[in-house]
């Protein structure tokens, strides 16, 4: 059994990406990974907070780090946006003494101290590197038999780094997909941007980016896309209809969390994995290969 402190983030805990949280927990159980949810965690603030009040954003992330320090376990999150903010705060507190002094003072106002001993990890890193591909492959109960999956990393899981994988041409998700028996298709835009939260304020711009990603995936014959981030999933899945309307395209690519694919291969049922929450249904594609 391996233990981690778990930071689900707003979106995966109860928001639009609830299926990510559900499948993460189910897969962790199947792999003997114990995710202990950080008590009373607060929102990481994501990009918006950083862009409005940077000090407040560092302080709110630091509160989470300080709370996690009690347990001394690595802090793992499935959300790339949480990951980038928490790990950036963590490394900047080490690098910049002036920032650290201010953050320490703010934390003290809440009765907290942070000694900078925590490691922040993305869930993909934990599965790929702590559990390992061989171990995962050995637990596969339903081989995904050649299902063609476009491995989509997006940005913040590998950038700015230093990261567990290459910042522009990462491989860990490809290998993970393959150890489930599925096929990782070539995907030249695998680490390019989906527009993130700009889908809300700059919809046209973001729809253009999403279109390019869907194009790249489908022209390489992917039958579905696997993501490692709630924002990416939402943009590619929920807004796929909007892309089709705007660009007169006819994409029908299911967008799954990588944990949902893992769960299927590990023998977990579709309901537990929240498969029915996909807006572009994955049922038909998956039914060709496994019983859901």
């Amino acid at each position: 059994m391996k233990y981690y402190t778990y930071f689900p983030g707003c979106s995966s805990s109860d928001g639009g990406a609830k299926a990510y949280g559900m499948s993460t927990e189910a897969v962790a159980r199947a792999l003997d990974v114990e995710l202990i949810e950080l008590e009373d965690w607060n929102c990481c603030g994501s990009t918006p907070y950083t862009s409005v009040d940077e000090l407040a954003s560092f302080c709110s992330s630091a509160r989470n780090l300080a709370l996690a320090e009690d347990k001394g376990l690595d802090l793992v999150t499935p959300c790339s946006a949480c990951y980038v903010i928490l790990s950036k705060t963590n490394s900047y507190l080490k690098e910049y003494p002036e920032l650290r002094a201010k953050v320490d003072e703010a934390l003290a106002a809440g009765g907290l101290e942070y000694h900078r001993t925590i490691k922040v990890r993305h869930l993909l890193d934990v599965f790929a590197n702590d559990i390992g591909f061989d171990e995962i492959a050995s637990k596969v109960k339903r081989n995904l038999g050649g299902l063609k999956v476009a491995p989509y990393y997006g940005c913040q899981v590998v950038r700015p780094g230093p990261s567990f994988d290459d910042p522009e041409s990462p491989q860990s998700l490809d290998r993970l997909i393959e150890c489930l028996g599925a096929e990782a298709t070539p995907f030249p835009l695998k680490a390019r941007c989906c527009g993130g939260s700009l889908i809300i304020s700059e919809e046209d711009l973001a729809l253009g980016l999403i279109r390019k990603l869907l194009d790249s995936a489908s022209s390489n014959e992917a039958e579905c896309i696997a993501t490692v981030c709630p924002l990416c999933q939402t943009n590619l899945d929920v807004y796929q209809g909007r892309v089709n309307k705007k660009f007169k395209t006819s994409f029908k690519l299911p967008v799954l969390f990588f944990t949902q694919l893992m769960g299927l291969a590990l023998g977990i049922d579709g309901k537990t994995l929240g498969l029915e929450k996909c807006i572009v249904s994955a049922d038909k594609v998956l039914a060709k290969y496994v019983e859901i």
Binding site: C10, S11, S13, D14, G15, G16, A17, K18, A19, E39, D40, N42, C43, G45, T47, P48, Y49, T50, S51, V52, D53, E54, L55, A56, F58, C59, S60, A62, L99, K102, V103, E105, A106, A108, G110, L112, C155, Q156, R159, P160, G161, P167, E168, R192, C193, G195, S197, L198, I200, S201, E202, L205, A206, L209, V238, R242, G274, E276, K277, I279
Partner: protein, 190 residues
């Protein structure tokens, strides 16, 4: 968290270089790698490379009131590619914060309002309930667009992807969180 009057503490480039991540701005060689990597450069008033040149030339107003940094999606591609290891994404965030503080944010993009509604939720309850955040944002910006969003909201609801109730921290945790943020505010920014 209100926008205060401009407190000009020196040149723009000086201010940026004092912010974590901004310290290498003076080392820019204007190679343009950042602009060539940026997925959104074509919609920006000034490309990332040019924005840095302008900041260094002291064009404070033009820089802070441009839409450039508000179209940055924080993809960090420029940052990992810059041959001078300049953290351009961090500089974008710093410019956003400065433009908010000086109340000169570009009116041609809705991103500042969106970020603000998001941050207000973080501050007030420590989490962001997506539906309420979206509703607040659309009401603030364009109620007609809120109407257009109804079918999408409906589809999210029927797929079990919208919770009406916001996650709340325990009262003592919420108080602690606020105490930390209030202190941060008192410290007056980075």
């Amino acid at each position: 968290m209100e926008a205060t009057k401009a407190q000009v503490t020196g040149t723009l480039v000086g201010e940026i270089s004092r912010i974590p991540g901004g310290e290498r701005i003076r080392l820019c060689i204007q190679c343009g790698t950042c602009s060539a990597s940026c997925p959104n450069a074509n919609r920006m008033d000034h490309t990332p490379r040019k924005l840095i040149a302008m900041a260094r030339a002291g064009m404070r107003e033009e820089v802070l009131s441009s839409n450039s940094m508000w179209l940055c999606a924080s993809c960090y591609l420029c940052t990992v590619r810059c041959p001078r290891e300049i953290k351009i994404t961090d500089i974008m965030h710093a410019l956003e914060c400065l433009s908010v503080r000086e109340n000169v944010s570009s009116a041609r993009t809705l991103t500042p309002t969106m970020y603000r509604s998001f941050s207000d939720f973080v501050y007030s309850i420590g989490s962001v309930p997506e539906p309420s955040f979206m509703i607040l944002f659309y009401l603030l910006t364009n109620p007609l667009r809120a109407m257009r969003m109804i079918p999408m909201a409906f589809s999210l609801l029927t797929h079990g992807r919208m919770s009406i109730k916001a996650r709340r921290l325990k009262p003592e945790a919420e108080r602690q969180f606020k105490a930390i943020l209030d202190k941060a505010e008192e410290l007056g920014g980075i």
